[in-house]
């Protein structure tokens, strides 16, 4: 992308011509001014976060890159509405969560079509790891597919994307108590459904948390 004709305060050029901004406030101000270099910087800065959240929610999925692109398109379309630059990170996380959830919902709606006319829906080729881990990952997302969307999002953000409870709450725009409730329900459902998947049963049957595939599972508090 082209460098801005006029460099603003807060932006500086690093070796190799890359533009950098000291913090999110400067970055957001530059985006508000329409500096295209700021967009590159934002993508570089937040792509790992978005990728972690989206991939955690969708699993091994050929649509991940589409979803991540959708998130950033949403970010640039809505950046003018962001007044508080310090909220940039959580705002992007929220956009990522809602975009991923939208994709999951859309896919769920399409399931009945698949049911009616399976020959019309092409199989999506997925490149993934092989062996035991591959099977466990596959089984994990098959189980997550059976969870309600909100519970699935809470589960994946907390346990796969390893967010703090408060971050999960902020990203899902719900209270801490609601997140805890969703996680408790999701965990319970996950444990129950995991029993039907040999790959998960084997991984989870030996000792420790859920070692006995207990009926109930408590959500751990923030440590």
């Amino acid at each position: 992308m082209a460098l801005p004709r006029e460099m603003r305060p807060g932006a500086h050029v690093l070796n190799g011509g890359v533009v950098a901004y000291n913090d999110d406030a400067e970055l957001v101000a530059a985006l508000h001014r329409g500096e295209s270099a700021a967009r590159t910087v934002l993508v570089q800065r937040y792509e790992p976060l978005v990728e972690r959240l989206v991939a955690g929610a969708l699993g091994i999925d050929s649509e991940i890159s589409d979803v991540i692109q959708d998130v950033f398109v949403g970010v640039f379309e809505g950046i003018r509405s962001l007044k508080d630059a310090s909220a940039l990170r959580s705002w992007i996380a929220t956009l990522a969560v809602f975009t991923a959830r939208g994709r999951i919902r859309r896919r769920r709606r399409w399931r009945w079509i698949r049911f009616l006319a399976p020959e019309d829906v092409p199989e999506v080729p997925v490149s993934g790891p092989q062996g035991e881990t591959h099977e466990a990952v596959r089984a994990t997302y098959r189980v997550l597919d059976t969870l309600p969307d909100d519970e699935r999002m809470a589960f994946s953000l907390r346990f796969i994307s390893e967010m703090q409870l408060t971050e999960v709450a902020a990203a899902c725009r719900v209270s801490l108590a609601t997140v805890k409730r969703r996680l408790a329900r999701a965990e319970k459902r996950f444990v129950e459904a995991a029993k039907d998947h040999p790959a998960l049963r084997e991984r989870l049957t030996q000792g420790g948390r859920w070692g006995d595939m207990a009926e109930s599972a408590e959500v751990e508090g923030e440590s």
Binding site: V43, A55, I64, H134, I160, L200, G207
Partner: protein, 440 residues
């Protein structure tokens, strides 16, 4: 590390590794550039069409305004015989064989039972004026923005916004009776210095005695009585006469006074007894409160609320003491009727301001937070609760205040709330969030 944690780590590693292998950054940048290009082209392409589109939109708006311009109401006369369109000024009499219904185009209806007489005085875009000549009519007016409906009986005027009531006029005695089934009306006429408000469950009786005494040199006060319709129906309560003049009752509440003052006495007879309106009795809700309270005490919140609503919940919110109204709010909240709960809490706050029971403030905060997701308002209510000095839910309120300010994007306020929280509840459930907020 537990089996579960190990599994989740594997899952995270696998899916993120898969995503990383795709090297998404170039793709994202390419798409953004493509979108930019598209957007610039679209702007150029559509530039020429803007004027034509604006012109077309203006034409469409003009047509819409013409087609949708407000039309005066019309009405049909239904009843004995076939229905037909009614006309302004046409005298309508309830037939012996059945009632006559005037159905208005706004959905309102006036029903004339046998022998009742009335005519439609005027029709406009926002309502109608019906002149009641004799008998009792049932009125049901559909509420709309700017509704202007009026029933005229002799020199009395009943102003209606949206409600159900019956209005009776005895032309021999010039006596008006208004019995409210739902909503409220304002009545003006002889003997009233200010409009008399009549609400659900009440009945107004007024007698225009000046009409009888015209030209006879007599001096009798007109009577205006507002009373509980149920009680009055049981024992036709007479007009209360008191030995001394009683000033108009003023409540300390900011709500309009619901007690109707007596018309001013013509004091020419000096020291004579003054007739005044009967003070409005307690609402039916208060009369029947034992029932909903008992159900509530047994945890049957929905049933208790149903009884309270039946007995005049809304009206009770405007008249009962603060504690009772707050309790009604709690009841509605526990029954899951958040709109009604908010109504009750807001009523108590509007009426009692600084002496509002703190739990009502907390309740309003919770409704704004969890139901309406209006975090700025929630923060205001939780802040008011904390200022009230109540301690029962102080920790929860402090935590919710912090959360509300964070969600409302009030960073400075959130930081202040976090610091305050940590000072008082260093080990509280919101301590981590408070630490994060202060640190951030």
């Amino acid at each position: 590390m537990t089996n579960f944690e190990s599994l989740m780590k594997d899952v995270a590693r696998t899916v993120q590794g898969d995503a990383r292998r795709r090297q998404l950054l170039p793709e994202i940048q390419a798409r953004l550039e493509a979108l930019d290009k598209q957007s610039r082209q679209a702007q150029r392409a559509h530039g020429g069409w803007r004027l034509s589109l604006a012109g077309a939109a203006l034409c469409a708006a003009g047509i819409a305004i013409f087609v949708l311009r407000p039309q005066p109401l019309s009405f049909a006369v239904d009843g004995v015989g076939a229905g037909r369109t009614g006309a302004v000024g046409e005298q309508l009499i309830g037939a012996d064989s059945g009632p006559v219904a005037l159905r208005f185009s706004d959905g309102s209806q006036v029903t004339l039972p046998p022998q009742a007489q009335a005519h439609v005085d005027a029709l406009d875009t926002q309502g109608a004026t019906v002149a009641l000549e004799n008998g009792t009519v049932e009125v049901s007016v559909v509420h709309r923005k700017h509704t202007r409906w009026e029933i005229r009986a002799g020199r009395y005027h009943i102003r209606v916004t949206g409600t159900r009531f019956s209005a009776g006029w005895d032309r021999k005695t010039d006596a008006l009776t208004v019995t409210m089934h739902e909503g409220s009306v304002e009545v003006t006429g002889p003997g009233m210095k200010a409009p008399a408000r009549v609400v659900t469950g009440q009945r107004l009786r007024a007698k225009d005695v000046s009409a009888d005494t015209q030209g006879q040199g007599q001096d009798e006060d007109p009577k205006v009585v507002v009373e509980d319709a149920t009680l009055a129906a049981r024992a036709e309560a007479p007009v209360v006469e008191e030995p001394e003049a009683v000033p108009a009752v003023e409540t300390a509440q900011p709500e309009p006074a619901k007690v109707i003052a007596a018309p001013a006495r013509d004091d020419r007879r000096g020291g004579a007894r003054v007739r005044r309106a009967v003070a409005e009795p307690q609402s039916k809700l208060a009369l029947a409160n034992a029932e909903w309270r008992s159900l509530e005490a047994h945890g049957k919140y929905k049933a208790a609320l149903a009884v309270a609503v039946r007995d005049g919940f809304d009206d009770g919110c405007l008249r009962l003491p603060a504690e009772d109204v707050a309790k009604l709010g709690d009841l509605a909240r526990l029954a899951g009727d958040y709109k009604r709960a908010q109504y009750a809490y807001q009523a108590v706050y509007r009426r009692f301001r600084s002496s509002t029971p703190p739990l009502a403030l907390f309740g309003l905060g919770k409704i704004e937070f969890y139901q309406n997701r209006d975090y700025a308002s929630a923060a205001r209510w939780f802040g008011l609760y904390m200022k009230s000095g109540e301690h029962a839910l102080a920790r929860e309120a402090a935590g919710l205040l912090l959360e509300s300010r964070i969600k409302a994007g009030d960073n400075a306020g959130a930081r202040a709330a976090a610091e305050s929280y940590l000072q008082s509840y260093a080990d509280g459930p919101h301590a981590k969030l408070a630490h994060d907020t202060v640190g951030h």
